[in-house]
């Protein structure tokens, strides 16, 4: 007999015409902005709508307009450009064999940049591997980030982690995990602890739409709902999970944000390529959490314009030119145009900024490689391999370390 199983529809495969008609778009300014203490069900229209601020003429419109000053907007633009420049440069470094692996966030830079700027410095961030913008926005040293990528002698992870698995205790950013979604319940636990201690810091976490299928996503939402944890939970719906279209995560004819009200927390669906919308939604959710009204689930609708990682070739599973017709555009282009519309920016400023950032990245790279790369001049002490498994080195690991050191001596290293 013929199979009756429903197989999610993928709108376009290589060689086919890109087709984004499935993306439900709402006009900029059309979504209402309820007070931050609105009951959960009051957010249903927002979870099914699309919060947008920038209109087609690059003006900021509607109730979600966050009324940011031009300096903040320029700061956002700079973070996004830095993200993109850094990404490009590191991708090239990977191609040259200087680093083993890299993951860009091309096309989704607004998601991290705007959120980090909307949150307070002491709010704790639980990123996925594609939220490098958070680190740039919080001002981490590029040399430190590059050193992690290079696993060199200045590597914050002491050589133990795949590139991009950064962290920063100082800047309140949790250690990135290679296991999808695990950070989501952790962020909720962090927020519960903040509430238990009576503190007003909140947490924010990010994962991809594909990762929402994992158990930890459900655990996070359940705990957030039960204890009204002060957390902002972000789904970055960039349409793809490696080769798997978002329909396979449950995105067919349903928003991911709707899972929020479904389980009893607020939900917002946001134009993830609209810096102002992401900022406004994050600020609203953060205030809601901080004031004790519980967590919000935010879906950022965006598009992963690059490959999944340097190990991936997206032309095998989707049309090459999808990003060109992505209906929500390019976040950098849109914020730039908005600033120009405001009279706060022009092409000359933009070129200067691009050059400045380019130079900053180049200088940082030169400094970073001076601390070694994985294959050249690598000088991390191999005994670090055995440290931090436990707080103290147990006798068994001491013995293993000594065995290795003897072996290395023999190998002439």
């Amino acid at each position: 007999m013929m199979s009756r199983l429903h197989i999610p529809v993928v709108p376009a495969r290589p060689g086919e015409q890109p087709d984004f008609s499935y993306v439900k778009i709402v006009a900029a300014g059309a979504c209402p902005r309820p007070p931050i203490d609105v009951p959960v069900l009051g957010t249903v229209p927002l979870a099914e709508g699309l919060i947008r601020v920038l209109d087609d003429e690059h003006r900021a419109v509607g109730p979600w307009e966050p009324k940011l000053d031009a300096d903040t907007l320029r700061r956002g633009l700079r973070v996004m450009i830095l993200t993109r420049t850094f990404d490009d440069r590191m991708q090239r470094a990977q191609r040259q064999g200087r680093i083993t692996f890299y993951m860009r966030s091309l096309g989704e830079e607004a998601v991290s940049a705007a959120a980090a700027i909307a949150l307070r410095d002491r709010d704790m961030l639980f990123p996925s591997y594609r939220n490098q913008g958070l680190f740039f926005a919080r001002g981490l040293s590029l040399v430190d980030l590059m050193s992690q990528l290079l696993s060199n002698s200045r590597d914050m992870c002491k050589g133990r982690q795949l590139p991009v698995m950064y962290h920063s205790a100082e800047r309140h950013i949790f250690s990135i995990s290679g296991n999808l979604a695990t950070q989501f319940p952790q962020a909720v636990g962090w927020a519960m602890a903040a509430a238990i201690k009576g503190e007003t810091d909140i947490s924010a976490a990010w994962l991809g739409e594909g990762s929402t299928a994992e158990a930890d996503f459900h655990h996070a939402l359940t705990f957030a709902k039960v204890y009204k944890a002060p957390a902002v939970l972000n789904i970055v719906n960039n349409q793809w999970a490696i080769s798997t279209f978002q329909g396979y995560a449950g995105g067919e004819q349903r928003s991911f944000a709707a899972r929020g009200p479904g389980i009893g927390i607020a939900g917002l669906r946001v134009d993830g390529n609209d810096f102002l919308a992401v900022y406004a939604a994050t600020a609203w959710a953060a205030e809601r959490a901080r004031e004790g009204h519980g967590a919000t689930l935010i879906e950022h609708v965006t598009y992963r314009a690059g490959a999944h990682s340097t190990s991936d070739d997206p032309t095998r599973y989707r049309p090459r030119d999808e990003f060109d017709v992505w209906p929500l555009g390019d976040p950098v282009v849109r914020l730039k145009a908005h600033l120009i519309t405001l009279g706060e920016w022009d092409e000359a400023c933009h070129t200067a900024l691009a050059r400045e950032v380019e130079e900053e990245v180049t200088a940082a790279w030169q400094e970073a490689v001076s601390f070694g790369t994985l294959n050249e001049g690598f000088r991390l002490d191999p005994s670090l391999l055995f440290e931090d498994v436990f707080k103290e080195l147990p006798p068994s690991l001491r013995a293993q370390r000594d065995e290795l050191l003897a072996e290395l001596a023999e190998r002439g290293q």
Partner: protein, 353 residues
């Protein structure tokens, strides 16, 4: 040789008898009192006090915000606890039965155990996961398992199991104070009294047992140290949890000069104490409840063989649960009881070098 008998307790008055449930309860009560970062969470642990009553009255005493009832999601509980650690708390998690710890396996293996390493100690997970394990209570296959081996293999987490009230309290306090994550297995068959593996005998209570004299105050029993529970020179029995009592009974029944070592910690393992004993006796029997194949006894056997090869007078032998799921009706055919240990000891003593 590290022997718990020499341990001191601080500020303890008269020494009352406690069973293991009371001893564990007292450990948490003390730590909730001493350290405001300690929180207790798990299914039914709050108002109700836990299905085995181990957290009884802790919520009443320390409040609903420090002793939390949780949703039924072991993975969520551990995941949330990791986040709490990142925010400075020291969670003590209860997993209602060790048989239900598997939904949390990913958070434990991939997160709890790796966090310190992967972040070069920028973030750590000083949580304690308590869970009742083992059989002998007619609990069937989902209330009887002993899954310690699948955690002991995972680098980055300490794995321990006390066998008596004194150790239970001292080790739990040590676990809560430990800056590394600790998986704390509680052999539920001996919560209320020691058990020598003979189900038809009337249940024993802890009353009168030397190791049930538990100081009311704070004290610790260090993790990573085995206890020589009985000294002897003819054979070494290496065991832990409920099987300590079965092994003692078997040795006594045979009137055998057996040294019984309660390893107490699987990770870190006190190889020195164990190897010292086996080198002395030349014979070794390993006893645990868990299934044999690739169980923790395999590591004990391999380690002991590596350290004591030239002193061994007979093959190291394992007495364990059979390699099957835990069967309800065949509990006493499955459980490695006194007779099975005695038979193994007889065979082991009969082997000539």
């Amino acid at each position: 040789m590290n022997c718990w008998l020499s341990l001191q307790s601080e500020g303890s008055k008269a020494v009352p008898t406690m069973n293991m449930v009371q001893a564990l309860n007292s450990a948490m009560d003390i730590m909730l009192t001493r350290n405001s970062d300690v929180v207790v969470l798990g299914e039914d642990v709050g108002y109700f006090g836990g299905v085995f009553r181990v957290t009884e009255s802790l919520q009443k005493k320390h409040g609903t915000h420090r002793v939390l009832d949780t949703p039924i999601a072991e993975g969520g509980i551990v995941g949330a606890a990791v986040g709490m650690c990142a925010n400075g708390l020291r969670p003590v998690v209860e997993i209602q039965f060790a048989d239900y710890i598997y939904p949390a396996y990913d958070q434990i293996v991939s997160e709890v155990a790796r966090l310190r390493y992967r972040s070069a100690a920028a973030f750590t997970a000083p949580l304690t996961i308590r869970t009742p394990c083992g059989g002998g209570i007619r609990g069937g296959q989902t209330h009887s398992q002993s899954p310690e081996a699948v955690f002991a293999h995972v680098s980055g987490i300490k794995t321990v199991m006390p066998s008596n009230p004194y150790d239970a309290k001292g080790m739990l306090i040590a676990a809560i104070e430990d800056d590394d994550p600790v998986l704390f297995f509680e052999p539920k068959r001996i919560y209320n009294g020691p058990f020598d593996g003979e189900p038809d005998k009337p249940a024993q209570s802890w009353a009168g047992h030397l190791l049930a004299e538990v100081p009311e105050g704070y004290y610790t029993v260090p993790l990573g140290q085995a206890a020589v529970t009985r000294e002897g020179s003819a054979v070494t029995i290496v065991t832990y949890g409920t099987m300590v009592h079965v092994s003692l009974a078997a040795a006594a029944a045979l009137d055998l000069d057996a040294e019984v070592i309660d390893i107490r910690s699987m990770v870190p393992l006190d190889v020195d104490t164990i190897a010292g004993s086996v080198s002395k006796t030349g014979r070794c029997l390993i006893v645990h409840e868990a299934t044999r194949f690739a169980g923790f006894g395999a590591e004990l056997s391999a380690s002991i063989q590596e350290h004591c090869f030239w002193n061994l007078e007979a093959p190291i032998t394992r007495v364990t649960g059979w390699d099957t799921p835990y069967p309800h009706a065949f509990e006493w055919e499955y459980f490695p009881g006194k007779r099975r240990v005695m038979n193994a000891l007889r065979r082991l003593m009969g082997e000539q070098s």
